[in-house]
Structure formats: structure tokens, C-alpha cells
Symmetry: C2
């Protein structure tokens, strides 16, 4: 099933590399071309079989691609899309895999005058690891993936891109960029923020007594600081709003503990446990 004649992946790291591996394994394209910034990355992309060909020349790499996937950190997506826009062929689909959408989609539409067939994608398939050496074609299996739709989105392109992600194993959802940020703020920005703050709060003594609870809750505090700085800068309003929801709730639990309100504490924990059952 060849959905595309040629797929170009701009940025062959953990996510870009995993897409390449998965797409090649499923023979989804006549050719997968990786576009890298440095010669060392180019060699690694080939070594880990993330693409059929790899190049440092973005203009030539995207020229006759039918699907271009921008898999660079959030802070660099807009620039890279604009760069591709100058070289890609008319009608090609271009997407990204960034964790923020409202700001990115608005900025890209504005700066390209809506001329582009741009559709935002966000696979919930990251990890605290980075780099093509950690790439894995199976990370999309059953992962939620959000596609963004605006009034300019072409229906046919959206269906084709949705099909692509589904074949990689994703469970796809279509939302507006604003809806994306609202939901993802609770499901992803907030767990990261909480994890960073929890790790930040530890002392030299407390880390010695770390059991499973501290390890699990702070795992994502190992994530790349630059990547998450850019996500928080790009999705600030949604992040703040989810922090406020969380603060209201933790204050409620704190109050119940301070008042030694046995019933209220138990109700809170039981509700939390119920919600947790639905996080699969």
C-alpha cells in the first residue's frame, strides 16, 4: 500500500527516525528521504535505517516529496516549514509532530498566506529519550494522535494524512488547534510541569530515600530542557490554565489533610483512583 511516492522527513531524531523506520517497514512510500542538519546525523539516520536516502540539502530533499514531515523541536518548526514552502511542489502535504498547535498553526497560516497544505499532527508517542539511536518503529502502536483542522484544511489531504498515521498504528483524533492545546495541556504539559516541579523540590537527603513513587512521578523531568522550554513558551496560555486547575485541586487535598478530614481525603483519593483506571 503505497500512500505516497516520496516522503521527506525533516529532522531524523527520535520521532522523525521512528516514523521513517515504521513507514519503511510498512512500505508506505516509494522512497523515504531524511533531511538532516549535520553530516553526523545524516550518517546515523542511514545507520539506524530511518530512511532510504539522507541529505543535508533541504531544497533538493523536499522538491518532489508528496508528504513532508517536520520532526524538529517546537521552537524550530515555523522556520523549517517556511524554508520547505520555498522548495516543495504545489499540492504536497506538509505536517509537523510538535506538542503545541494553536500558536504554530496560526503562525504558519499567517506567514504563508494559507497557500500551504499544512496540517498539524501530534503523536503522543514521545519519551524522555532523544535521538535516532532511540528510534523505534513500534512507538506509534495504539498511541493517540491529534490532527488539526481549520477552515482552510483540505478534506482530501486530511483523510490521506489520517490514513498514514493509522497505518503506523495511531488512534487518530481531529480537533481545532485550540482544542488540541486545551486537552493536551491536561494530558501532557501538566504532567511535565508537575514532574519538573516535584523533582525541583527534592533535597540532597530526600533523593536518597527515593522509592518507586518518586521515580515514576519524576521520570519525565529527565526530558530535554530546551524542547520543553519551547513548548511552554509556545503554549503558555493553555499550560497556565491547566496549572490553575491543578493548583485548585491540590489545595483542596491540602486543606482536607490540614483539617484531618478523613472522609474528604478518602473521597479525593478514590476519585483520583477512578480517573486513573481510565488512563490506559
Amino acid at each position: 500500500l503505497k500512500l505516497f511516492r516520496k516522503i521527506a522527513i525533516v529532522g531524523v531524531g527520535l520521532i522523525g527516525g521512528s516514523i521513517g523506520i515504521a513507514a519503511r517497514k510498512r512500505r508506505l512510500a516509494g522512497e523515504v528521504i531524511g533531511i538532516c542538519r549535520r553530516e553526523t546525523s545524516r550518517r546515523k539516520a542511514l545507520k539506524f535505517k530511518a530512511c532510504d536516502r539522507a541529505t543535508l540539502d533541504l531544497a533538493r530533499g523536499v522538491r518532489d516529496a508528496d508528504l513532508i514531515i517536520i520532526a524538529v523541536p517546537v521552537g524550530k518548526i515555523v522556520d523549517r516549514v517556511l524554508e520547505c514552502a520555498r522548495h516543495m511542489k504545489k499540492g504536497a502535504i506538509i505536517t509537523d509532530v510538535g506538542s503545541s498547535k494553536e500558536y504554530l498553526v496560526r503562525e504558519i497560516c499567517k506567514r504563508t498566506g494559507n497557500r500551504l497544505n499544512f496540517i498539524g499532527s501530534h503523536p503522543m508517542a514521545g519519551s524522555d529519550k532523544t535521538g535516532v539511536l532511540n528510534a523505534d518503529g513500534n512507538i506509534f502502536e495504539n498511541a493517540p494522535l491529534i490532527l488539526t483542522r481549520t477552515k482552510n484544511t483540505k478534506r482530501k489531504a486530511l483523510r490521506l494524512l489520517e490514513g498514514f498515521w493509522r497505518i503506523l498504528g495511531c488512534r487518530t483524533f481531529i480537533l481545532s488547534p485550540k482544542e488540541h492545546d486545551e486537552h493536551i495541556s491536561l494530558a501532557s504539559y501538566l504532567p511535565h510541569i508537575v514532574s519538573f516541579a516535584l523533582s525541583y523540590s527534592q533535597t540532597n537527603s530526600s533523593v536518597k530515600f527515593a522509592g518507586g513513587s518518586l521515580k515514576d512521578t519524576t521520570r519525565v523531568a529527565s526530558s530535554d530542557a530546551g524542547i520543553w522550554r519551547d513548548i511552554f513558551l509556545s503554549a503558555g496560555p493553555a499550560a497556565i490554565s491547566s496549572i490553575d486547575t491543578f493548583l485548585k485541586n491540590i489545595e483542596k487535598l491540602k486543606k482536607a489533610i490540614a483539617h484531618r478530614d478523613s472522609k474528604e481525603i478518602e473521597l479525593f483519593l478514590k476519585k483520583a483512583k477512578e480517573v486513573r483506571k481510565r488512563i490506559l
Copy 2:
């Protein structure tokens, strides 16, 4: 190496059962006797090889034990210790495995007039699972374990008990009950509180988009609500103090995001990541 002629374990659940399995495997005692409340638990304790004998009769079970381990939920520890105190032999060591210490040790010392050879133990080896069917003799391997020392603690008993936990694989630390609660508050109460509040904050929509970050950070929100209610009631002041530390820090990060302060956000995330490296 028989450290004790007879060990009695009161409450053969996840932790009690794991201790029994580990102690039997290492032949640490002439006999391990399990003391249960219900006949079904008694049968399961034997089925999962957590003890050599199991009984519902606490008085007879603890009578000639040299080491008694109270492995019941925090809310029931004081009562069970007092019950054992009426039947155990003079000079026997009695310990618990509860997650809170200041309140428990004070209460036990007060209500037994310091007559007991009681030493608090807290192995950081739990999980969100419960029951002897999840017991595993290897969970103590490399787990931190805190022993409490007060002015009444007998040096010889403390050394013997420390040796016991070390042979099970624990890395032992000796602290005052108050110090225990302070350190554990950051390392264990706080991750649980944060995890419960994070799970509580999710919506019907957001849980559909759960990736690894939400799964990991909310795993311990699956923990038993009754057990954690009792820990928070028993260690309230220490829990509140760690919540306040955390709130101060998350407010700092929120402010940096609200002000789009790129440098401040990155510094915060980098420090969190540095701390995380020391949580092994």
C-alpha cells in the same frame, strides 16, 4: 545464618508476604509464622509460601517469637502493637513497616510506657499493588530502609534489626522519627499527593490523549485510598510542609511561563533534570 529462632509476621499482604518469602529463602529464622485476620488470608499466605505456618490466633502466634513484624496498614499499627504487647515474650524485638513514623512511634511509646523493644522500620519497597499474591522476595533488593532511633532504643536490638533488613537487600538508614517524616514527606508523601491531584484534574477528554508522561506520573494514584488516607492523617504536618515547598516551586515555574521568561524556564527545567539524575 539464623538471626532469629522465630519470626512472627502480623499481616501477610504485599509487604508482610514479601518479607516472609525473602526471610524463608535466606533461612534467616528457624520458623516464620504468619498471623492473619481471616481464614482466606491464612490459606493464601501458605499458598504463596510467605510463611512456614499461619494462624489466626495472634496470642499464640507471637508468644515465643524473637522478632515480630507488624505489616498492617498505618491506621491499624498502634492497635496491633498493643495487642502483641500483651502476649509477646520479654526482650523480643517488635517493628512495623509503616510509611509514617513520628506519630506512630510517639503513640506506641506513650501507650506502652516505653516497656517495649519497639523500633520503627520503613522499607521504600511498596507499589500500587496489594495482597500476598503480589508478594515478591526481591522487592527489598537495593531498597532504602529507614530505622527509627529514640532515646529509648536499645543499641543491640537496633543492630540486630538492621542486620535483618540488610540481609534482605535493603540499604539501611537510621533517623529520628521526626527526621524520617521530613525526608519521606518529600520522597514519598509528596509524589503520591501530586499524583492523586494530577489524576483528579483530568477530564473525560484529556484521558483519551494520555501518553507516557500522564501514565507514569499518575501510576501511584492507583494506590489504595484507605491506606493513603491513614498515612496522610498520621503524618499531616510533614505532608503539608512538603506540599508548601512544592507549591512555592510550581508557582515559580508558572510565573516564568506566564512572563514568557525563556531563560528562567530553562534554568528551572535544567535544575529539575539535574536532581532527577540523582534519583536512581
